[in-house]
Symmetry: C2
Subunit: 135 residues, 2 copies
């Protein structure tokens, strides 16, 4: 099923690619308000976590843990937020967001709070390189 995988156009427009893991494509949400990874299993027609087969779901869980550890190490954040919502973009994707007590939405969840903020391109590259080298 992987060969037919196509990233949802909205996810593609909102993110920058980081790397591919065994199951997931790892993306950085292009919003400088929060260091924010999005993992998209490279499988077709998946909407819920329970749509994945057991092997893929187990691998995804390891990839979520790995990406969480790396994001926490790189950002030294106060808290991680991990979520699978999919109310607006149906393609299965998992948010892993580094939260700090000084960020634009704290302590609320990030969705619908602060307008998207443009990254400094050099700072974004440093962040992506650090995350990629940890994955």
């Amino acid at each position: 099923m992987e060969s037919a995988f196509k990233l949802d156009p909205q996810l593609a427009a909102d993110t920058v690619p980081v790397t591919d893991l065994a199951v997931s494509r790892v993306l950085l949400n292009d919003d400088a308000n929060y260091p924010w990874l999005i993992l998209v299993p490279r499988r077709t027609e998946m909407v819920e976590l329970i749509d994945l087969n057991d092997a893929d779901r187990a691998t995804l869980w390891s990839e979520i843990a790995l990406a969480s550890r790396v994001l926490k190490e790189v950002t030294r954040c106060h808290k991680l937020n991990v979520a699978q919502l999919g109310n607006q973009v149906a393609q299965l994707h998992i948010h892993i967001i580094a939260r700090d007590k000084t960020d634009a939405a704290w302590p609320a969840p990030v969705w619908g709070k602060a307008p998207r903020k443009t990254y400094d391109v050099a700072a974004r590259k440093v962040l992506i390189d650090a995350i990629r080298s940890g994955l």
Copy 2:
């Protein structure tokens, strides 16, 4: 570590117990706006998913999948939302929420949207019994 486990007082106040699985205590959030389970690993001093050891985290992942399937079957919801946030209550807990296109927050995430709504006690019992028998 299980013997020392104590449910956070805020989580206790906001929920009704459903059952205990191998790792998680399963709670129903006492908010009739959305059928909403909360899974709390019965372990002490856990804040992040990555704080759990590998065995507990793997079991928790199975319990999230099981609770997701049961909640979807019982409610026939349009979408599941699964999230670990913990910005306000530090004790590690996982939200599994049944969403419908007609609910009080759709398509936004549920947090901070609609005021808590009281369940009809008999309807709540029917819901809890159905979920418990599926788990």
